[in-house]
Amino acid sequence: MTHFKLSPKQKAARVFSYLFMALCVLVALFPIVWVVLSSFKTNREILSNGLQLPSTFSFSGYKQALEMAPILKFFVNSLIVSFASTALNVFILAMAGYVFAKKKFRFKNLIFGILSLSMVIPSTALMSPVYTVITKLHLYDTKMALILVYTALNMPISLMILRSAFAAIPTELEEAAYIDGAGFFRTFWQVMMPCAKGGLASAAVLAFLGSWNEFTFALLLTSSTSTRTLPLSLSYFTSQFSFNYTAMFAAITIAVLPSIIVFSIFQEQVCSSLTAGSVKG
């Protein structure tokens, strides 16, 4: 920033800037802070005045929330589904991305073009047939169904990121590996994969976020406690906790906090992944 004397116009611009920033922070934080604060209030306090601060800080709402709904079970389901689909997604798309970036073969452009179609199809349009396909595979209401669908939903973006990540690796490295006698798979696994670390991380972060937060297909494809994920459990809380608002706010906090903590720690990585994901391949 340069430090000349500011004209009134510039001053006004500066005031506007700070006001705007403050407003954005307020908009982003207020709802979450309100929910967290409410989770410490008693039922009566919540109903009598929505803006009052809690009179005491008691964690009883959290205890009740964990007792009333199988939040931990949903949490574990979400973890399993998200990790499995992220791993599967990144692994198979690294294979595909590598081949598309580094190999020449017949119908390459055609196949890539067809796969790119997945970028432009709104997945919600496919709700009904995906449901039919999953049912026909006898996967309805299994974690496998969600893992498969999430792997596919995150396919377009991972394909773009990973293809450009492999394309950026110098071909000489690959050739050197071949000359050293490494086979096709070993070259891919031991030479190319480590070089594409940045791209892999970006793809993994995006795939994980996508799977962790996905709602529509989870709602469509699961029904029992053993398969439902955390985002779904939130809507299920509404009825479960309608007699105990404290527990409901506690449950929302439990569902939201891990994402916020993880994001605060890895925010640089997440932001750079988002940027990588938005660059057209």
Partner: protein, 290 residues
């Protein structure tokens, strides 16, 4: 060497292709094919009826046109106002005022936590009895402005729109990244030429990040075209169909076991998506090479 690798290449492509086939290709063919059928579970029917589903959608179904209108209006709002909001913040932040990093991270939080959590939070914020909004109005003596925000026919649409419109963290992050990656000497040169900060933003920076804004507009359009969870959790599309969009309508039709009709809605979603993308690409010259 090429010859020997064919098997490996096929093996490396196969998993991706199989999953693409299962979750995209087969469903896509099914959507288009069964949209021409009367395909229901009760009574069990599977009968070719040509374009009747589409004719019914556009001429007889009193719900469909309002739902289509909602979808298009939301896409427009999101592409214009939401992206503008995020871009303005990015243009403020790239000059690195005090606390810009904090603002960037904080503003991103609502976009990182799941949509269903945001929806649940808003369901409570808007609650007629104990919600923060009504409490606030009461506290500042504007009790007559209190509403049952999400369920009052007059306020439901704007109330739902607010649940996603104000969270433009994604746009800010992307445009900001692009702004920060531009060569500082260009800005310095403009400053020396006596350009005001507003002129620099408009004449120098904006053209440089225009394509990135185009990308965020596409993302905004895709996001809105697929929006489901926040509507489903807050209003369920009501009152009537005043906050329903195409995916929600498709979902309720699937739940009513009317698969053929549901898939004709799916076809409409794909077409709307195609038209929107073409328009945005034209507008931002996204297809032109630099």
């Amino acid at each position: 060497m090429k010859q020997r690798n064919t098997g490996w290449i096929a093996l490396f492509l196969a998993p991706t292709c199989i999953i693409f086939l299962l979750i995209f290709a087969i469903p896509l063919v099914m959507v288009f094919a069964t949209s021409l059928f009367d395909y229901r579970l009760l009574p069990r029917t599977f009968e070719f009826i040509g374009f009747s589903n589409f004719i019914k959608l556009f001429t007889q179904d009193a719900k469909f046109l309002p739902v289509l209108k909602n979808t298009v209006v939301w896409i427009a709002i999101h592409c214009v106002l939401h992206v503008a909001l995020g871009t303005v913040l990015a243009f403020i932040l790239y000059k690195k005022p005090h606390g810009w990093k904090f603002v960037r991270v904080t503003y991103m939080i609502p976009n990182i936590i799941s949509q269903s959590a945001i929806a649940m939070i808003f369901l409570n914020l808007y609650n007629a009895q104990y919600g923060a909004l009504n409490s606030l109005l009461k506290a500042i003596g504007l009790e007559h402005l209190q509403h049952n925000w999400l369920f009052d026919t007059a306020t439901a649409f704007p109330a739902v729109t607010m649940t996603w419109f104000i969270f433009a963290g994604y746009t800010t992050t992307l445009v900001l990244a692009q702004c920060l990656s531009t060569d500082e000497s260009i800005i310095e040169a403009a400053k020396i030429d006596g350009a005001t900060s507003f002129q620099i933003d408009r004449l120098v920076m904006f053209p440089l990040v225009k394509r990135m804004i185009g990308t965020t507009v596409i993302m905004a359009a895709t996001y809105m075209l697929q929006m489901f969870s926040m509507i489903y959790i807050t209003t369920g599309g009501g009152p009537g169909v005043s906050t329903a969009n195409l995916p929600l309508y498709l979902y309720t039709t699937v739940k009513a076991n009317n698969y053929g009709y549901a898939n004709s809605i799916g076809v409409v979603i794909i077409i709307v998506g195609f038209i929107t993308m073409t328009l945005i690409n034209r507008l931002f010259g996204m297809n032109k090479e630099d």
